[in-house]
């Protein structure tokens, strides 16, 4: 039965499945960044800071946000993030280091799934 099989696989490979989901978000985001900003894909790592390391400016980031919004069916709250950084309530690392950005994306996707 499909349900039974899925349960077994989850039990057997919990780490792999979790790892697969996380790398999938990062891979998609890295591909978007590479294609949108013409940055070599192999220079983009989970620890890259989109602004400080990759040199992406705010206008280019709009194209990235657009592609992410479309691909993941979410709306990155850029205005809220910018406000938090300007108010000193958050650091740019929290939102623009790619592994953190991917974690935010996963949260938004999960929240969307929960409210649907």
């Amino acid at each position: 039965m499909p349900t039974h099989r899925a349960t077994l696989e989850t039990r057997k490979y919990p780490q792999n499945i979790k790892g697969l989901v996380m790398s999938s978000t990062f891979d998609q985001v890295a591909t978007i960044i590479a294609e949108t900003c013409d940055i070599p894909r192999d220079t983009i790592t989970p620890d890259s800071h989109a602004i400080d390391d990759l040199g992406i400016d705010s206008l280019d980031f709009l194209d990235i946000a657009f592609a992410i919004d479309k691909q993941f069916g979410i709306k990155l709250p850029l205005e809220k993030w910018t406000q938090e950084v300007n108010d000193g309530k958050a650091t740019t690392e929290q939102y623009f280091v790619l592994k953190n950005l991917c974690a935010r994306i996963d949260e938004l996707v999960a929240a969307k799934g929960a409210s649907a």
Partner: protein
């Protein structure tokens, strides 16, 4: 159209906020200092002003969709194509649709037709800023009245 004031749009023909589309009209004047230079003996609407016209049509669309709460400012022009010339006296019909509504930014797609024929099209990106001051908001409200902006779309 008052070219020297960059007032490109004459009239909002149809603004559908639910469908996020707009159609506006803009008649190119017969005479303008711009045509004295661009070009003597062959007056031609500059391509950048066609882009500006599409941006302004997109701007009115966004003012409607976002209920005059934000001012759209042109940020990026993509895939702009001038497919045919626009001359003094031509009546441009400009259509725009909202392609994406992001957080603090929006993207539109716009087309200019003259006599039903496509003359230009582009994808445009805007940042949405709070109105910087009352003067600017008042100015936009005044132009809104002149171009026939349907006030019911912003009133509750």
């Amino acid at each position: 159209m008052q070219l020297e004031y960059f007032h490109m749009i004459d009239r909002i023909v149809d603004l559908k906020v639910d469908e996020k589309t707009i159609v506006v009209e803009a008649r190119v004047p017969q005479e303008s200092t711009i045509f004295e230079g661009h070009f003597p003996g062959y007056p031609l609407m500059p391509g950048v002003l066609l882009i500006e016209s599409m941006a302004q049509a997109s701007g009115w669309l966004q003012l409607g969709v976002f209920k005059f709460e934000r001012m759209p400012i042109l940020a990026a022009v993509k895939e702009a194509k001038v497919r045919g010339s626009v001359f003094p006296g031509d009546l441009m019909s400009i259509e725009a649709s909202l392609a994406h509504e992001g957080s603090g930014y929006a993207m539109t797609e716009a087309k200019i037709r003259v006599g039903g024929k496509l003359r230009a099209n582009s994808a445009l990106t805007f940042t949405l800023i709070p109105f910087p001051n009352a003067d600017m908001r008042g100015h936009m409200a005044k132009i809104a009245e002149r171009v026939g902006f349907p006030q019911q779309v912003v009133s509750p």
